[in-house]
C-alpha cells in the first residue's frame, strides 16, 4: 500500500473556532483518474483543496502523498513534492506575458522555452504567448493558470473552479484538454467545479460535500441518481445542467 502512488486524505476535519468547515472527509486520488469534488457554495470544497495543498492544517486526519505524510508541510514544499493547485482567484503574474508566466515556473524545473510553448499549446494558448497575462479574457486566464501549474510537472493537480466564467463551449474544450492531459501525463486530477456538464463528462468518480460532510460518492451516474444529493445540491440547480 505504501508504495502505490496516490494522494490520500483520510478523516480530514477542519474547525474554525466553533465552526465546522470539514468533518471526517476522506478521498483518494490515483494517477490517471479525474475525481470531481462538488457541493454547494460553503460546502467546504475550497477548504479541502487548502488542506491537500498545505494551505490549511487540518484539525484532524492525515494527508499522504504515496505514503509520505504531508500534514504541516508548508504549501510550497507540498507543491515541490508534486501536489499543485490552482486558485479560484487565478492569481496570474499579471504584468508578465503569457509565455513568461509559464517560463518563470519552467525555469525552476530547468525546462527549455520550447517546453513552455508546448504547455501553452496543451491549453490552447500558444497564439497568445506574447500577450500580457492581464490582457487575457477571464477564461483564458484560467487556462493559463492550468498551464502554469503544469510547468511544475505535478503528479497531482488540484483545480479550483477552472471553468468559472467560461461559456459552455469553452468548458467543453477545457474538459477535452483535461482528459488528454491526464491520459498523456498520467497525473491524478481533482476537479472542484460548479459546471455540472463538465464534471459529469470528465470525472470517473465524484465526491459530494454538504456542509463539510461527504453525503455521496460514486460514478457520475450513481451520484446523479442519489436522492440525498438531489435534495442537498443538484435539486437547486436548474434542470439540464445536472
Amino acid at each position: 500500500m505504501e508504495n502505490v502512488e496516490s494522494l490520500n486524505a483520510a478523516g480530514i476535519g477542519v474547525r474554525f473556532g466553533g465552526v465546522i468547515a470539514l468533518e471526517d472527509v476522506s478521498l483518494e486520488i490515483v494517477p490517471g483518474e479525474i475525481v470531481g469534488l462538488i457541493g454547494a457554495n460553503g460546502a467546504g470544497k475550497s477548504t479541502f483543496i487548502n488542506v491537500l495543498s498545505g494551505f490549511q492544517r487540518p484539525s484532524t486526519g492525515t494527508v499522504r502523498l504515496s505514503g509520505r505524510d504531508l500534514r504541516g508541510m508548508p504549501s510550497h514544499l507540498v507543491a515541490r513534492a508534486g501536489v499543485v493547485r490552482t486558485f479560484q482567484a487565478v492569481r496570474l503574474f499579471s504584468e508578465l506575458t503569457v509565455a513568461e508566466n509559464v517560463a518563470a515556473v519552467a525555469a525552476v524545473r530547468g525546462e527549455a522555452a520550447a517546453s513552455s510553448r508546448r504547455l501553452l499549446a496543451t491549453v490552447g494558448l500558444e497564439s497568445a504567448a506574447d500577450k500580457t497575462a492581464a490582457a487575457l479574457s477571464y477564461s483564458d486566464q484560467r487556462k493559463l493558470a492550468i498551464a502554469r501549474a503544469l510547468a511544475l510537472s505535478p503528479r497531482f493537480l488540484l483545480l479550483d473552479e477552472p471553468a468559472a466564467g467560461m461559456s459552455p463551449d469553452e468548458a467543453l474544450t477545457l474538459g477535452a484538454a483535461l482528459r488528454d492531459l491526464v491520459a498523456e501525463r498520467g497525473i491524478g486530477l481533482l476537479l472542484v467545479e460548479h459546471n455540472m456538464d463538465l464534471v459529469m463528462s470528465v470525472c470517473q468518480r465524484l465526491v459530494v460535500l454538504d456542509v463539510g460532510r461527504v453525503i455521496a460518492r460514486g460514478t457520475p451516474a450513481e451520484v446523479r441518481a442519489d436522492p440525498a444529493v438531489r435534495a442537498a445540491y443538484l435539486g437547486g440547480v436548474p434542470h439540464g445542467t445536472a
Binding site: H76, A79, R91, S94, L96, A104, R109
Partner: protein, 294 residues
Amino acid sequence: MTWFVQALVDATSIGSIYALTALGIGLIFGIMRLINFAHAEFITIAAYVVMLTIAFGFPVALFAAAAGVLILALLSERLAFRPVRGADPSTLLITSFALSYLLQNTLVLIFGARPSGLNILPELSQPILIGGVRLPIIHLVTIAVTVLLLAATGAFLRKTRMGIEMRAAAADFEMARLLGIRANRVIAAAFGLSGVLATAAAILYVAQTGVVEPRLGLHLALIGFVATVVGGMGSLPGAVLGGLAVGMVTVFLQVLLPADLRPYREAFVYLAVILVLVLRPQGLFRPASARERV
C-alpha cells in the same frame, strides 16, 4: 533657448540619478513590500568606499565600491530582513529605519559628521560647448551611464531566468513561491542588483557634487522613495519615470521660480508631489494591469 537646453540636460542628469535610486528602492519594494530606507546607506557607503580607494585609480575604486555594497546589501538581506520577512509592512519599515540609523551612525563614528571633498574624475567636470551651449561632461556621462544601466536592468528582467522569476515574485510573491520559485535566491538577487544600482547612483552623484558626508544617501533615498510613490508603487518603469519627473520638476523650478522664492524650491517640489498623490493616488505611470483585482 540656450538656458532651456542647459536646464533640460541638468534636469535629465539629476533625474537620472534619482531614477537609479528609485529603481533600487522599487526593486526591493516590488518583491518584498519593503521600503528599504537603508538604501540611503548603500549609497553613502559606496561613496565612502570610493573615497578610501580612489588613490588606487578609478577602476579599482569602482570595483571596490560595487563589490563592497553588493556584499553589504546581501548581508543586510540575510541578517536584517530575512528574519522579518513576511512580517507586516510596518515591521519591515522599522527594521529598515533601524539598519539605516545603525549604518549612518557607524559612518559618523568612523569618518565624523563633517563633509569631505572628493574629486572622482576631475576631467569630467569640464564643460564642453555644443552648438553654443555649455554642458558639463559629467551631466552627459551621467545620462549615458544611466541609459546603459536601465537598458541592462531591463534586459536582465526580461531575458534572463532570474529576471523573469524576479518579476513573477514582484507580481505575486506567495504564488511565485508556491510555484517553486526560490524566494531566498530571488530576494538575494534583488538586493544585489539594488546594491549595484546604489553604487552607480553614488558615484554619479558624488562626481557631480564633489562632497561625501554620512547623510549623503539620505537625500537621494528620500527623493528616490518619493519618486517610486509618484511613479506608482510596485511599477519599475514607474519608479524610473518618477525619478526623472522629480529631477525635472526640481531643476525647472530652480530656473523658473523668482529669485526670492528659490530657497523654498523643495517646498514647491513636494507640493507637486502632494498634487500628484491627490489627483492620481495610484501614481503617474502605474499601468492599469498593476491594479489589485477585486
